[in-house]
């Protein structure tokens, strides 16, 4: 029992590292300032707005080519990723369809065979409501890996008999890859590699171009301002099951690593 307690302790410590719970009385204490001193707060806010406006106007006059453009089409998408890393998503099975839970272990190895990360498919499985033993998966399993020659080792426990395979792949810095596991008899090439760009190819319409690179929340905000609704149809390499109804004001988003990689209105053709 001590062993279990120690393991639970270690897991809880590691998982809650960096999470801060705010003391509610302190949070509350800072709140009433705008109520108790509304004139002071309003005046300060006006001054700040004026200062920012002046600064923006001043910066806006400088049309020099040396300015760094910050646009919505950047690929780093604010995810905070280390540019020397690549991001790999693993998918397995049919997307977002309730199936029996899968006992699938994944190990990412570097060229020397050292383990980069050990993952389990249970991390992306969510229990299917009202169906004990069944799960749905609403996206691929993401793993950040260093650039280089790597491999994915997958082991599926099936009726007591493990089925394993190893899929070598090469990741360059900044790559976004999808490994589609197809565990069966083959021991190699069991997880064909696809780039995110291929996955998302021809799935962005003219109305969706400006959404590429935004986070889901940013895309929602922009769509709402444009009188559109959004729905997510693909997450981290996995296509989600969606309804086939036609709504011309609905923007279908595909996300990878939290960022929009394709966006298309219902019924809209892909932009060339």
């Amino acid at each position: 029992m001590n062993d279990l307690r120690e393991r639970l302790d270690r897991l809880a410590d590691a998982a809650t590292e960096g999470i801060e719970v705010t003391r509610p009385d302190q949070r509350q204490a800072s709140r009433p300032l705008w109520r108790s001193r509304p004139v002071l707060v309003a005046a300060t806010a006006l001054l700040m707005v004026a200062a920012v406006t002046a600064l923006v106007a001043f910066v806006g006059r400088d049309d020099s080519d040396d300015d760094v453009a910050v646009g919505a089409d950047g690929n780093d998408g604010g995810s905070g990723a280390d540019p020397s890393d690549a991001v790999v998503a693993v998918t397995y099975g049919e997307a977002s369809v309730g199936t029996a839970t899968v006992d699938l272990d994944l190990r990412f190895l570097d060229a020397d065979g050292s383990v980069i990360a050990e993952r389990s498919w249970t991390e992306v499985e969510q229990p299917a409501a009202g169906a004990p033993g069944e799960a749905v998966v609403m996206g691929g399993l993401l793993q950040r890996v260093p650039a280089g020659d790597l491999s994915l080792e997958a082991t599926l426990q099936q009726a007591g008999e493990p089925v394993s395979c190893t899929q070598p792949f090469t990741a360059a810095a900044g790559d976004r890859l999808i490994l589609r596991l197809q565990l069966g008899s083959a021991e190699t090439d069991c997880a064909p590699v696809q780039s995110v760009e291929d996955w998302a190819a021809n799935r962005t319409g003219p109305s969706g171009v400006d959404y590429i690179g935004l986070t889901e929340g940013e895309a929602d905000g922009r769509a709402e301002a444009a009188g559109l609704t959004t729905r997510v149809v693909g997450v981290d390499g996995m296509d989600l099951v969606v309804t086939m109804d036609f709504r011309p004001d609905r923007l279908n988003l595909m996300l990878f690593d939290g960022v929009v990689v394709a966006a298309q209105l219902d019924g809209e053709g892909a932009s060339s």
Binding site: L11, A14, A15, A129, R231, L240
Partner: protein, 163 residues
């Protein structure tokens, strides 16, 4: 006891408890924060001498964790966009334990965490979970069998006496 003192003593443990029962950092932070906020809002009653604020907050937090779990499960069935990616899960230790806990039904996981991690006796577990001591023993018994099978270890012993 002042709320500030109670918060300092309770918040880290409550956050860990919530994580172990949900295995989701975001859900754990939400539940712990909300439970402590409710305790503060109702502190004259919760913190009264005759009350046990730790037990009260634990019960509230467990309810919040459970409700979120149900909501997520139902969204997963009905709403295509209900998904979550735990960006720290690749650096968390003990994948075997995480998998074994994830496979336990929520009530069994609660019982295990309260009894074996939080050191609560069966009666205290029952109070925190809002079930009878018999139900706790049943949850623990089933969970022990599953954990023993999953982790390949001998079955854990049930400690009936409160620590």
């Amino acid at each position: 006891m002042e709320f500030a003192e109670f918060f300092e003593q309770t918040a880290p443990r409550l956050l860990r408890l919530c994580f172990l029962t949900t295995l989701d950092r975001e859900a754990a932070a939400d539940a712990a924060q909300e439970a402590l906020s409710r305790a503060w809002r109702d502190w004259p009653r919760v913190g009264a001498d005759s009350s046990d604020p730790t037990a009260w907050t634990t019960t509230v937090a467990l309810n919040l964790c459970r409700n979120r779990w149900r909501r997520l499960a139902s969204q997963a069935r009905l709403v295509p966009r209900a998904y979550s990616v735990d960006r720290r899960s690749d650096v968390l230790p003990d994948i075997d334990l995480r998998r074994a806990l994830r496979r336990l039904p929520p009530r069994q996981r609660e019982a295990v965490v309260l009894h074996y991690w939080a050191d609560l006796g069966v009666d205290a577990c029952a109070a925190a979970m809002g079930v009878t001591p018999g139900a706790v023993k049943q949850h623990l018994s089933r969970a022990r069998r599953r954990l023993a099978a999953e982790l390949g270890e001998p079955e854990l012993e049930l400690e009936v006496e409160s620590p």
